[in-house]
């Protein structure tokens, strides 16, 4: 559940940022900027996804 929620939120966030950049940023920067966003997007997923459940459980125990 938490994993699915994370993937949906993370994807929606990057789609929003990418769309705003696509509309506002000068044309020849767009492709390089999209590469940068794409890199951050995938890095975020591979970095956070495996630790997600453990982190949520830790925070739950900490605040409970």
């Amino acid at each position: 559940m938490i994993e699915t929620l994370f993937l949906i939120t993370w994807t929606a966030l990057f789609l929003m940022i990418a769309y705003m950049s696509w509309v506002k940023i000068a044309k020849h920067f767009k492709i390089y900027l999209m590469m940068l966003y794409n890199w951050l997007y995938l890095t975020g997923i591979f970095l956070m996804f495996p630790k997600l459940r453990h982190t949520v459980e830790y925070l739950y125990e900490y605040f409970a």
Binding site: E3, I31, M35, N38, L47, P50, R53
Partner: protein, 258 residues
């Protein structure tokens, strides 16, 4: 540079499928038959008749799953690169007639291979369900690993497509490299059978990191190695950046040559 047109990419992808099976009675149905036959070979021939087993596993389908989750993505990766390497030459009649964005020609190849990959996976997942496979949340990473793999394929494809225009022998070189690359990656065999010296070099093989990730989430119920995935993500994007920058620098010459 012409804009990257979504309509053009979609039209080319549809035409790619219709041209591949043009004149046949069953038409696009063949797009479903081929992956089904391939999966039958992986599961029944290799898994059942040849008795392929994974070391340390008693599951009779473990090797079939190991083979399928390695081979299906590899086919998409390999076909994307090999078809991309000649795409500018193959589509030169389109390029010379309309002001088309050249990278969009590679996007349609990646899209076309992704559709074939999805069709194959529909059959694979049907097989997994039929055999009582226990699905886990780690499988949610599957599309993202495939996405990373196709970014790498796109970067390498763009590099070879640009250079093949000037040096046509590269098409054959790409084919040979992909063939060697396939056998240097533990897809049909397990990495544990390799000598230690080869295992040390293997970690520098990007296809190994990708294939190992598929094997870990599907067969071994484990997460991919985080550090390897992050390094590979950076490398794949760096290759994409270099390929695109080189393409931009040579774009005028590419069009003149064609």
């Amino acid at each position: 540079m012409a804009a990257l047109s979504a309509n053009l990419i979609w039209d080319l992808t549809k035409r790619d499928f219709s041209e591949r099976f043009a004149g046949s009675v069953l038409g696009s149905v063949w797009a479903f038959i081929w992956p089904l036959v391939n999966l039958f070979i992986y599961i029944v021939i290799f898994g059942k008749f040849m008795g392929g087993r994974l070391p340390g596993s008693s599951d009779i389908y473990a090797y079939s799953i190991y083979l399928s989750v390695g081979l299906i993505p590899w086919m998409a990766f390999s076909n994307s690169i090999s078809r991309s390497s000649t795409v500018f030459l193959d589509k030169k009649n389109i390029i010379s007639k309309i002001d088309v964005s050249l990278p969009s020609l590679l996007v349609f190849i990646n899209l076309s291979e992704t559709i074939t990959f999805i069709i194959s996976n529909v059959f694979l997942f049907a097989f997994l369900i039929a055999t009582g496979y226990e699905f886990n949340t780690k499988l949610l990473l599957f599309p993202f690993i495939f996405y990373l793999q196709q970014i790498l394929a796109f970067g390498l494809g763009l590099l070879s497509a640009t250079l093949t225009v000037f040096l046509r022998d590269l098409k054959e070189v790409v084919g040979i490299i992909l063939q060697l690359w396939f056998w240097f990656t533990p897809i049909v065999y397990v990495s544990s059978i390799l000598p230690d010296v080869v295992k040390k070099v293997l970690v520098y093989n990007p296809a190994f990191i990708i294939t190992e990730s598929y094997h870990r989430i599907f067969v071994f119920d484990d997460y991919p190695v985080i550090a390897s995935m992050i390094i590979l993500t950076a490398i794949a994007h760096f290759i994409l950046f270099v390929s695109y920058a080189m393409f931009r620098a040579l774009e005028k010459d590419v069009r003149d040559f064609l």
